[in-house]
């Protein structure tokens, strides 16, 4: 069993996994359904991981012991007085922890990419636990986590998706946009990435230009759906004619900005759905064109779409169509929560690393790498 921690960005998250099975998974905002700030929590405030990390790890441990499924109940019964300890007062927390950590092989933690002060919180906690319970540490790249997200299973071992390497993986989120060949376990080759903005960021910014607040991705998706995702204005598809597989969204941003500037304010608001849909179409079509180019270049037909924007149903549909065209398979994160940031996928990557004995050798000097690449 591995305890994993991810504090790379928005979510304070912890999980316990066994191989690909997620036995317990906690993301802070899910626990408290917390929207204290009203509407949407501002981006950095969300990253107050320091205040939450202990709470989240405790919740993860308690959750695994309170589960009723066969797999974990066996474990719970083995942890002497485990189930009693859950209900009893916090004075038993220490012994509960000790029992729990007897069964933990290693502690996995995200080292990057991400916001430095946020990453630091997770790493500090991992080091602290490793020392206290004499455990090894496994360092995981956040992007590896996303790449493994279609293969993550629930505690019962579902879904049962086998690995058929190689895969062409498109990661699309607020912070990342990249095309990667997933060659074999823990072997990746980046063949394209954004040179300026991430696709999710471009959508957020377009939403803000339309006066729709942050985060804009889901709002744009909903508005676009209301006009059947049609393209009304034909904004440029950035870099689609260039031969490489890199993305750039800054030019599209400029042209959208200028288009709105020339538009009458009333007209702009009247056409808000059409504008949202057209912008989304420009971004998504760029993603599809580049992915298709990558299919042709590499001959790889098995696709995976991962990261926050993979929650968008319309993009999934476009991706399915693309895979169909080339008789390929297409994968998405196996559960909805795996689209966003979470520690479950980090733990699953760590399981494969543990098999290969890839542990951190120098824990003392182990540090975050905010601009880590694959």
């Amino acid at each position: 069993m591995i305890l994993s921690i991810d504090t790379s960005c928005d979510e304070t998250a912890a999980a316990v996994v066994l191989g690909r099975r997620v036995l317990s998974n906690v993301v802070y905002s899910q626990v408290l359904l917390h929207q204290k700030w009203g509407g949407v929590v501002p981006s950095i405030a969300k990253r107050a991981h320091e205040e939450r990390i202990d709470f989240v790890i405790n919740a993860t441990i308690k959750k695994i012991l309170s589960q009723k499924n066969l797999f974990t109940s066996k474990l719970a019964s083995r942890l002497s007085s485990g189930s009693v300890a859950i209900r009893s007062s916090s004075s038993d927390e220490g012994s509960l922890h000790r029992n729990f950590f007897d069964y933990i092989e290693a502690i996995a933690v995200t080292v990057g990419p991400g916001l430095a002060p946020a990453l630091e919180v997770g790493i500090k906690k991992a080091k602290e636990l490793a020392e206290k319970f004499n455990k090894k540490i496994i360092s995981v790249n956040h992007l590896e986590g996303h790449i493994y997200s279609p293969f993550v299973q629930n505690s019962k071992g579902n879904p049962k998706i086998d690995f058929h390497f190689p895969y062409l993986v498109l990661t699309v989120s607020g912070g990342h946009t990249s095309l990667v060949i997933f060659e074999d376990h823990l072997k990746y080759k980046v063949i394209g990435e954004t040179i300026d903005d991430a696709a999710g960021e471009a959508l957020d910014k377009a939403a803000k230009l339309l006066g729709l607040g942050y985060p804009g991705g889901p709002v744009i998706e909903r508005l676009a759906k209301e006009v059947d995702n049609r393209d009304f204005y034909h904004f440029p598809r950035p870099m689609v004619s260039s031969d490489n597989l890199n993305f750039s969204f800054s030019g599209l941003k400029t042209s959208f900005y200028y288009f709105l500037k020339k538009m009458d304010e009333k007209e702009k608001l009247k056409k808000i759905k059409e504008l949202a849909s057209s912008f989304q179409q420009a971004v998504f079509e760029t993603l599809i064109i580049k992915t298709e180019k990558a299919i042709k270049k590499t001959g790889i037909k098995n696709l995976a779409l991962v990261g926050g924007v993979s929650a968008n149903f319309y993009l999934r549909k476009l991706f399915r169509n693309l895979a169909k065209k080339y008789n390929g398979q297409v994968l998405f994160p196996s559960f909805k929560y795996l689209c966003g940031d979470n520690a479950a996928m980090i733990g699953v990557v760590a399981s494969f690393k543990a098999q290969k004995n890839l542990f951190v050798s120098d824990i003392k000097n182990f540090d975050r790498i905010p601009r880590m690449s694959l």
Binding site: L32, W37, P42, E193, D204, V219, L269
Partner: protein, 351 residues
């Protein structure tokens, strides 16, 4: 607990009557089954919160009507136009509350979520009752919403069922997603004003391309690094969306031998190690998504204000809150970028 059908002749009157008496009603909507109580009745709201096991502090949105929407929340003229185009529809708009509903429904920041659904029965109900009614999904906190009364009742323990006064059954609802939240609350952050900084020199450049912007950035950085500077250099970069702020920082990065700089908007801050230069580290910040002054605390910016570091801050005009700190610990360079036209940019550098 009483169950009536949505096609009952007097369904609206009966529902209004229960709500007026502070009752809790399960009612269909354009998305999922909702839990309705009179939003101005504190006792009824408390009953709702107890029913949902909802943690305190999480706001609950309300159904409204055009007639009294502007009494409930603060709406600017521009936002009025926007709302007219969004509503009725599957959206919850979050705005500053005017305090007309029970405060338990508002967020800590005194904002309120409002819905005008595209759904006749709810619209008729609101028209009749003439006040806001809560619009939260009929499920316990943390559980999925329900599209049929059957599945709702299956989930509920007897103790919860007792709290419900009336159920209006419309059969199986179409499986529409719950409403999407649009946060329209203006940000609350101190913007740097022109008079806040006094500069000795102002240079103006014209860039005709991305390459040009990078070259200008490199020229300026090269010039400044020749001078003996004891403090960390802080580039505050201001300019509209798409004007080339990230390009400018990429230019500086290339001068220092850093490749692969991307926009840090989402992450807020990226740092890059620099080799063989007077600069040790480039700290690339982007304050675009920063909305509250409290957020600066989490960035721990003081830690980076040491000699040898170069800070480049996009949307730098938003540093108002921490400007005194920056001025004291660092050497400020103010870069103002603006559109001359779609291709050309004016870059004004003050230091």
């Amino acid at each position: 607990m009483k169950i009536i059908k949505l096609d009952d002749k007097n369904v609206i009157e009966k529902t209004v009557e229960v709500l007026q008496q502070g009752g809790l009603v399960v009612f269909p909507s354009d998305t999922v089954y909702g839990l309705l109580v009179d939003a101005s009745n504190e006792k009824a709201v408390k009953k709702l919160i107890a029913f949902k096991n909802r943690p305190p502090g999480k706001p609950i949105s309300v159904f409204s009507d055009w007639d009294f929407l502007y009494d409930l929340v603060l709406v600017s003229e521009k936002q009025k136009e926007l709302l007219k185009n969004l509503l009725p529809g599957p959206f919850t708009v979050v705005l500053k509350s005017k305090g007309k509903v029970c405060p338990l429904l508002e967020s800590e920041k005194k904002t309120l979520g409002v819905r005008i659904p595209d759904y006749q029965p709810v619209n008729q109900l609101i028209k009749k009752i003439k006040k806001p009614v809560t619009a939260t999904s009929a499920n316990l906190s943390g559980k999925s919403p329900h599209y049929s009364i059957e599945s709702l009742l299956k989930q509920l323990p007897e103790s919860k069922k007792k709290l419900i006064d009336l159920i209006v059954d419309a059969g199986k609802l179409k499986r529409n997603k719950p409403s999407t939240v649009i946060d329209l609350v203006e940000e609350n952050i101190k913007i740097l004003r022109q008079g806040d900084i006094v500069f000795t020199q102002v240079d103006t450049y014209l860039s005709r391309s991305e390459k040009g912007t990078k070259k200008i950035a490199q020229f300026i950085l090269g010039k400044l690094l020749k001078k003996h500077v004891k403090k960390p250099l802080i580039f505050i970069i201001e300019g509209d969306l798409g004007v080339g702020k990230t390009v400018f920082v990429k230019g500086m990065g290339e001068f220092l031998g850093i490749k692969g700089i991307v926009s840090p908007t989402f992450v807020v801050m990226y740092e890059y190690e620099v080799e063989k230069s007077k600069v040790d580290k480039l700290i690339h910040l982007d304050l675009y998504n920063v909305e509250e002054k409290e957020e600066f605390e989490y960035l721990k910016i003081e830690k980076y204000l040491v000699p040898g570091n170069l800070l480049a801050i996009e949307w730098g005009e938003k540093v108002g809150e921490i400007f005194d700190l920056l001025k004291e610990k660092g050497e400020i360079v103010y870069v103002k970028m603006s559109y001359e036209n779609e291709k050309e940019r004016v870059i004004e550098v003050s230091f």
